[in-house]
């Protein structure tokens, strides 16, 4: 459904952030994109959603194709119109707008303005906590509620595909489970295609169908989620497990890293 072909992303005409990144997300599946901080995951999402332009970034080579159409030259609002919507990490609500206004803003690209109200109601059904606070400024919601709001807001555009950036970041474990349950439900019930960027690889690989690993702006490994869960490097570097399969503790922090092989 979505295919990135060998894209190169350059910021400020000078800083090369992504080199030759290619990946594919199949319709109705959850595709996980793993990698350490600064590996280029978010940049990849922005290359898809067109938001690079606003940060002086540019897809200088390669192409992004969605349902057979080139996306890489499109401005973000046209990408949303094509059915892809990005959810930022860090729960970026419109803090000064109310919950309802946030959702209204999410439906900006929709032509069928009459049904926006119904959609808002459906979001409220999905997230009852939001309904209670529909008139409150979104900035005052709790972290979990804000995460629900940004997902709900993204759904307001009736997307075919959602790019989810670190939905678990900074949330309590219980909330994370809740959010991931929602993601799984969206896939199963709405047949939503999801490209999920996560540092929490354990979690991501449990709900994903396929996974990619990025490092220094390149894809270094790909494979079905189940296979990746078994990969030695993945275990070591993303699942945080040592040989014995036990979790490493912070006391064992090392000033060096093991050589990675990235062989699948």
């Amino acid at each position: 459904m979505l295919a990135l072909n060998n894209i190169e992303v350059v910021y400020d005409n000078a800083i090369l952030v992504l080199r030759g990144v290619s990946l594919a997300a199949k319709a109705g599946q959850i595709t996980a994109l793993l990698g350490a901080n600064g590996a280029g995951k978010t940049t990849t999402l922005k290359a898809i959603s067109g938001l690079l332009h606003s940060e002086r970034g540019e897809v200088t080579k390669g192409s992004v194709e969605f349902a057979g159409e080139r996306l890489d030259r499109l401005p973000p609002h046209q990408v949303v119109e094509r059915g892809i919507v990005q959810v930022f990490e860090g729960r970026r609500v419109f803090a000064n707008l109310t919950v309802a206004e946030n959702l209204t803003a999410g439906a900006h690209t929709r032509r069928d303005r009459g049904t926006v109200k119904d959609s808002i109601d459906r979001i409220f059904e999905m997230f009852p906590a939001l309904a209670e606070r529909h008139n409150q400024a979104a900035g005052y919601l709790s972290g979990g509620e804000q995460q629900m709001l940004v997902i709900g807001r993204a759904l307001m555009s009736n997307p075919k595909m959602v790019l989810l950036d670190e939905p678990s970041l900074g949330l309590a474990p219980q909330l994370i489970e809740e959010i991931f349950a929602v993601i799984r439900r969206l896939k199963e019930e709405r047949h939503l295609t999801v490209l999920l960027v996560e540092q929490n690889a354990t979690l991501a690989l449990t709900i994903a169908d396929h996974g990619y690993v990025m490092e220094n702006g390149r894809i270094v490994l790909e494979g079905p989620a189940a296979a990746l869960q078994q990969n030695s490097d993945i275990k070591e570097f993303y699942l945080g497990l040592n040989e014995a399969g036990a979790r490493k503790s912070y006391r064992e922090v090392k000033h060096y890293r093991r050589r990675k092989r990235w062989l699948g």
Partner: protein, 299 residues
């Protein structure tokens, strides 16, 4: 009862309020742009001047009646603002604040040069059909042009306020103001809204240009109105329309009173910097201005 010259105070107050509401109109131009695009338009004064020149030029060079001239000024400023946003401001998106400040300052110079070359160096008038005979209101003597100006200003300020709060475009504009990037991700064509904000600022400038131009006459110096408006919008809060109104009124009154009472004591000229002193005092207490929104800094 204190032995104060009450009538004089009333006159000063009225004068201050009238002038202040016209300040508010020019400040609105700043606020619109700042709210939507995070940019400060240091050429707002030159916008007003340029609009004034357009209106005066249309009257004097082409002989149009005042209302066509005013309309032409509005149209001209909208077209100009659109073009400006595209050519100058868009490339500067996301750049440090000083870049936008300097670009608009530079723009100011260009506008001054162009206006003088195009319309000549002398002072031109905009003949609005407003009489010169003062309006007597009880003890008050009110210049009619100021009354008209204040009326038009307040009407527009109310209109804009409603537009922002209630309309779908208003919600989108506020979303853009809240976070450009997120708005973009929601499919809001941020550039279009930037252009819209500049265009609206163009409309406001055109109104300001016609009103202030009619009051002061149109020449290069009209741009200096822009300098008067800084304390207005900072006092009110850069991103608040209500703030622009209140700030305008406060500055108008403070200026008027200080000129009336302080000037004779210290030898004059206080009204130029008293608003700035007030502004600094307010900033020290509330850095975001009276109605401004506190911005949360992310590390």
């Amino acid at each position: 009862m204190l032995d104060l010259p009450w009538r004089f105070i009333a006159i000063l107050l009225a004068n201050g309020l009238l002038v202040g509401s016209m300040y508010a109109l020019v400040a609105l131009g700043f606020v619109l742009i700042y709210k939507a695009t995070d940019a400060i338009n240091f050429a707002q004064g030159e916008f007003v001047m340029f609009a004034g020149f357009l209106a005066a030029g249309a009257t004097h060079l082409a002989g149009f009646p005042w209302w066509i001239s005013a309309l032409l000024a509005v149209l001209g400023m909208v077209v100009f603002a659109f073009g400006l946003e595209r050519v100058v401001l868009r490339p500067l998106l996301g750049r440090p604040i000083i870049a936008v400040i300097m670009a608009t300052l530079g723009l100011g110079f260009v506008l001054r040069g162009v206006a003088t070359l195009a319309f000549g160096g002398g002072t031109q008038t905009i003949p609005l059909p407003v009489g010169d005979e003062p309006v007597l209101l009880g003890p008050l003597i009110l210049p009619p042009i100021q009354l008209v100006g204040a009326g038009v200003s307040l009407a527009f300020l109310c209109g804009f306020g409603w537009f922002f709060l209630k309309s779908r475009i208003g919600v989108a504009m506020r979303a853009v103001a809240d976070s450009q990037q997120v708005a973009m991700a929601m499919g809001i064509n941020v550039r279009r809204y930037f252009a819209l904000a500049w265009a609206l600022a163009g409309v406001v400038s055109a109104l300001g240009g016609v009103l202030w131009g009619a009051m002061l006459g149109v020449d290069n110096q009209l741009a200096l109105v822009g300098l008067k408006v800084f304390p207005v919008m900072i006092l009110g809060g850069l991103d608040s329309i209500l703030g622009a109104v209140v700030g305008g009124l406060i500055v108008g009154v403070v200026e008027s009173l200080s000129a009336g009472f302080l000037d004779p004591l210290v030898g004059g000229g206080t009204k130029d910097f008293i608003p700035y002193l007030l502004m600094i005092a307010v900033l020290m207490v509330r850095p975001e201005g009276i109605f401004g929104r506190r911005r949360i800094e992310r590390v």
